[in-house]
Each structure stands twice: as C-alpha cells, then as structure tokens.
C-alpha cells in the first residue's frame, strides 16, 4: 500500500497547479485530446469497463448512468455536483481549489461521452474562494480554446457555467440539484422519470460528482485495466478519504479502497494518529449520514461493501470524523439531530416531522432533561422514518436515521448513565417550562 501513487491529488501542493500552464506541463489536457479522438460511445465503454462508481455517496456506476440516456436525444445536459454538503466532507473542495483544471478536463471528457452541450457546475454557496479559483480556471480554458465553440479545433462544443447554490444540503441530491438549477426550491423530484430521460429543463441530464469526474481523465489516459487494478474487486479505483477531528494530520488523502478506519486515523501518511491526550471514542467514517462506529469497530474496511457489516448505510463520502473521549455523546446526538432537522427539505411527511421531532428530543437530552424512554422513542422515530426503503422521495430521510440509530444503539449505556445522573425532578421542570 505504501507504494500507492496518488493520481487525483498528484498536483496538490505543486506551485501554480491552479494555472493552465502548470497543469499542462504536468501532463494535463492530454486525456481529453485522446478522448476526442475516440467516438463518444467508446469513451462510455471505457468508463463502464473501469466500473467507476459514483464518489458522491450512492456509489452508482457512472458509465451505466451515462448509458441510460435515450439514444435518440438531441440535447443533453451535464451537471457537476459540487454541492459538497455532507459533514465532514471536503475532498471536492480540495480538488477544486488545488487542481481545478483536472475537474474541467474530466467534465469535458464526460460531456463529450454523453454528448452534452452545456455543463453546469452546481457549487454550494459556501464555496467562495473555490468559486473564484474554478471560475478563473474556466476563463483560462475558454481563452485556450478548450471550452466554447469547436474545442481543440474539433467538432465538439461545450459551455461550462458555474451555478452557485445558497445554502441547502438537499441540493446535493441530484434531482434537488436540478430543481435548484431551475431557480426553484431544492425539492427532490419523484422518479421516474429519471434525470437521464427528463432532467434539467426536461432534457436528458447526467449528474456526476466532482471526484467522479476527476477520475475520468486518468481512466482515459491509463485505461480501464489500470483503474480496476486498484483496490478490492467490488470497490476499484483511487479514492479520496477525508479525516478530521482531533487527529494529528487532519486532511484529504488518496488511497485504494479497503483501507481500514484505523489505518486512516493512525497511518503516518494519513491522519498520523490521535492528537496528544486524545483517544478514539467514536468515528463517523463516511460522512455523518452513514452512521457511527464505536472505538471497537475501527477495523471496518472503507469500501463499498464492508460498512454494511457494521450497521452503517454505506461508504458514503468516505469522510471520517473522529470523536474523542472528552466529547459527550449527547452533544454529538444533538448535533446530528439538528443538522437533519435544519436541512430536511420538508417535502415528505416522515422526514419533515421526524427530523424536527428527533431534534427536539436530542436538544432536551443534551440540556440534561432526557428521559430513558426518549432513547427508545428516538429509535422508533428513526425506524418510522426509514423502516423500509421507499418511505421518502430522496435518501435524506434514511441518512437522518442512521446516525441517530447507531449513536443510540452503540452508545446507549453512556447516554443512559448521563440521563440517570440528571438531578431529580429536572425533566418535569423542563417540560413544565416548555408547555
């Protein structure tokens, strides 16, 4: 593993890597030239062969997504999902601020493969510096003739526009993103029709994550076999892992999938171990929506399959946050509940009401007025929001239940103890004030 050669992050830290000149001097914009020499379908086939699974959280194969586009379409739109909003994920931020041309190149190749005329980069509103960096890079690419009419002096034309969001987690859901691009509230759409058939402005649309698209130039350049040769067979290709919290070297690291959470925390070329005096109490290994691991579960492999064995929702964004022994799990519980309570879009009943209710309960528990039955109530509410697939239109509801459910289940004794040690009569007094 130590010999792993970073690809996606190869330009990070390189002086001037944001500029076209430096990017090209390091081999940039060669893949797109190669791709433009192939037929679009050939490009799709290579990406399909590489089994490039979406890096945004759901893990759906990008090439398969592209092949859902109707054959007889006249217009196609590509949306780049740069609405990275899942705490504690920041790998797309790193990609965009360190190596914007890599994303642009990946976008051009993917737009060519899908025969898209316009690519919209939906960038979350919190990204200001990244917006200016990426927009400058796009301006440069236009000036060089890599974007616009007849790019690279060929037949293909492509416009790239950045569309800035304005603070809504749910706009990272692909149909919420499309609605938001249309100038509406980011309410996810009901499917079918799927975006590939009827998406943005009712046209066939592909939505891909920044990291997914950033992989594409390398697949074209090095071939599908290179890509599938990295990592376990079900989770191939280089992957970005984020690590944050009280570790020595919080940051974004590239590795093959299948590394363990423990490696991510401990390895010198990654998290570098816990900060002095800090011990692991819990880890959210894949973005908060995937759920939490206890300190005993750090051998979980970070790939598309293993998280299921630890009652987690999935790999998610592969962004881990470490909770140390000094952090009260009631605070973590409240933080999770507040996040989903604030970010639920309010469309589906279970999610709208359930997240708000869990937030109320968690706030009360954190304020030292919890009841033991509140823990069961939280579990049941979580189950009622996500007891079966299909309960809500998008995945936010499922994502909201996993952290709550896993915190309560895996840290129940701590929570119970905290509740038991509350001063007598406090719950009644608080409830009296509330009502």
């Amino acid at each position: 593993m130590a010999t792993f050669e970073p690809v996606l992050l190869r330009n990070v830290g390189v002086e001037g890597a944001r500029t076209l000149k430096v990017y090209e001097s390091r081999g940039g914009y060669q893949a797109v030239r190669k791709a433009l020499g192939m037929s679009p379908d050939e490009v799709v086939e290579i990406v399909k062969e590489a089994n490039l699974r979406g890096r945004g959280g759901a893990g759906f194969p990008a090439g398969v997504k592209w092949s859902f586009l109707p054959k007889d379409r006249t217009h196609t739109l590509l949306c780049v999902n740069a609405d990275e909003s899942e705490p504690p994920t920041f790998c797309n931020r790193v990609l965009m601020e360190s190596d914007p041309h890599q994303l642009i190149e990946g976008t051009i190749i993917s737009a060519y493969a899908t025969q898209s005329q316009i690519a919209y980069i939906y960038m979350r509103g919190e990204f200001h510096e990244q917006f200016h960096i990426l927009q400058k890079a796009i301006d440069e690419a236009y000036a060089a003739g890599y974007l616009g009419k007849n790019i690279f002096n060929g037949d293909f034309s492509l416009e790239i526009y950045i569309h800035r969001g304005a603070g809504a987690y749910v706009c990272g859901e692909e149909t919420g993103l499309i609605e938001s691009l249309e100038g509406k509230r980011g309410w996810p759409r009901i499917k079918p029709p799927f975006p590939a058939v009827e998406g943005l402005f009712r046209r066939p649309t592909v939505v891909n994550n920044v990291e997914t698209l950033s992989c594409v130039p390398h697949i074209i350049e090095r071939g599908a076999d290179w890509f599938t040769g990295i990592g376990p067979s079900h989770s191939v290709g280089p992957k970005l892992f984020c690590i944050s919290g009280p570790v020595n070297k919080p940051g974004c690291y590239e590795a093959a999938m299948g590394i363990t959470v423990r490696e991510l925390i401990e390895r010198d070329d990654m998290g570098g171990g816990m900060a002095p005096g800090k011990r692991v109490k819990a880890v959210f290994p894949g973005g908060v929506s995937m759920g939490v691991l206890s300190a005993e579960e750090l051998d979980m492999k970070m790939d598309f399959d293993d998280p299921r064995n630890y009652s987690l929702l999935g790999l998610g964004t592969a962004a881990a946050v470490v909770i140390d022994q000094d952090t009260d799990m009631r605070i973590v519980l409240r933080n999770m509940a507040r996040f989903y309570g604030t970010e639920s879009c309010g469309q589906c009943t279970q999610c709208r009401e359930g997240t708000a209710w869990m937030h109320k309960i968690a706030t009360r528990i954190a304020a030292g007025a919890g009841r033991l039955e509140d823990l069961d109530l939280l579990l049941e509410t979580a189950r009622n929001m996500g007891m079966m697939p299909g309960l809500s239109i998008c995945g936010l509801s499922d994502g909201a239940t996993y952290p709550i459910e896993t915190i309560v289940k895996k840290f129940r004794s701590e929570l119970e103890e905290a509740i038991r040690s509350q001063p007598a009569g406090r719950v009644d007094r608080v409830l009296q004030v509330l009502n």
């Binding site: 797309n92 979350r124 919190e126 569309h163 100038g183 509406k184 690590i243 919080p250 974004c252």
Partner: protein, 218 residues
C-alpha cells in the same frame, strides 16, 4: 391563545417607490439569461447579484426580480426562503458565518461562537448596533480539516480558537481573499475589499462595483 393573524392583503411594496434595482444590476442579471433555457433559472444568480450589491434582498427587490424574470413575486419568495444565505432584511457590512458541524463542534467551535457572541454583543442572526457585523451559523462549511472554521463574508478563517476572535475582529482586512477574484459576481457590498478597490481605481476589479458605489453614496 396569543396567535395573531397576519394581514397579507397589505402591500409589502410601495407601488410609488422608485426602483431599487439599478439598470446596471438589471443588465448584470440579464447577462445570465443566455446560460439557461428558462428565465426562472436565473433566479439564484439574480438573488446573489442583488444581495451582493444591495446587501439584502428586500420585498421590493423580490418584486422587481420577479418582473425581470417574468415570474410571480411569490415564486421568488418561495425560492428565497428555502435557501439560508439570502437576507430579506438589512444585515451588517460583514457577515460572520460560524460552522457548527460535528467536526467544528468537537474541535471547540461552540466556544468560538460564544466568544463571538460576547464580543459582538449579539446572538445568532443578530447584527451589531454599529451595523458592522452580522453573526450566523451554518451547517458544514467543508473546512473540516482545519476546524473550527468560520467565514467573514467570503474569507475562510481556519483553526480558530476563542482567543483568536479579538484579533480577527480587529483586522479590517479580515474578509480579503488571497486569490484573484472572478468578475462574474460582484464584491459583496460593505467589504473592506470593496473599499480598497474603490480607493485605488485602475484595479481591474472595480468596473463592476461603480454602480454599488453610487448607490451607497446616494
């Protein structure tokens, strides 16, 4: 029951008031029309533009945007209220956005927030009496590798400790970006960067802000 009935028949916008969107703002918004198939899709860019130049999106601004994009004012209100970044009432010159997500909270973000509240003398969503700062919190700013973090307008401050707060507030350039700006969106009104570019004409960035200056002077 102390519920009141809000009267929505009342005009939120004075029909005789002069327009708040200058021709320059309107042209800027129109320049986005080519990018999208529908005018409605220009709504988010338009709201950003208006907020950057006027500081907030007033009822009248919403009505004028609606007219420009050929949609109903309620459609603008619908969209604007869904997103957390837009202000429908005046805010401070600089907005401090404190991240409150899990990493920042674990790393001590709430102490930073408390310190800010104390030093500014405002609560969340409050604006200081001198109008210089508004304080808000946001879910994840995607700066977890250097939490706790906060934004002063567009500028990210990393690994902030409570004891850093005073220094950040004292720095008049605390919102200045270290990279070159794209001219696609205006410098937010009221920023030090704006003041800077206004004083040193000849800088490539100031073309877009002249209308702001006029408006601020009037």
């Amino acid at each position: 029951m102390s519920w009141k009935t809000l009267d929505r028949n009342q005009q939120a916008v004075d029909p005789d008031a002069p327009p708040v969107l200058s021709d320059a703002i309107r042209d800027r918004i129109r320049s986005f029309f080519d990018r999208y198939e529908t005018k409605r899709a220009v709504l988010l860019p338009a709201l950003h533009i208006v907020q950057n130049t006027l500081g907030h999106v007033s009822w009248q601004a919403m009505a004028e945007i609606a007219e420009l994009l050929e949609i109903h004012p309620s459609d603008v209100m619908n969209t604007i209220s869904f997103y957390t970044h837009f202000w429908t009432h005046p805010k401070g010159e600089k907005v401090i956005t404190v991240c409150r997500s899990i990493t920042c909270e674990v790393m001590g973000g709430s102490a930073v927030l408390d310190e800010l509240k104390q030093q500014l003398g405002v609560d969340e969503h409050g604006t200081t009496t001198d109008g210089r700062y508004s304080l808000v919190t946001e879910e994840c700013l995607a700066g977890c590798d250097h939490g706790p973090c906060l934004l002063v307008n567009e500028k990210m401050h990393k690994c902030v400790k409570p004891e850093d707060v005073a220094k950040i507030l004292a720095d008049s350039g605390n919102d200045r970006l270290s990279m070159e700006r794209s001219e696609l969106f205006d410098v937010p009104a009221g920023t030090s960067e704006h003041a800077l570019s206004a004083s040193s004409s000849g800088d490539g960035n100031i073309d877009t802000t002249s209308d702001v200056r006029e408006m601020r002077e009037s």
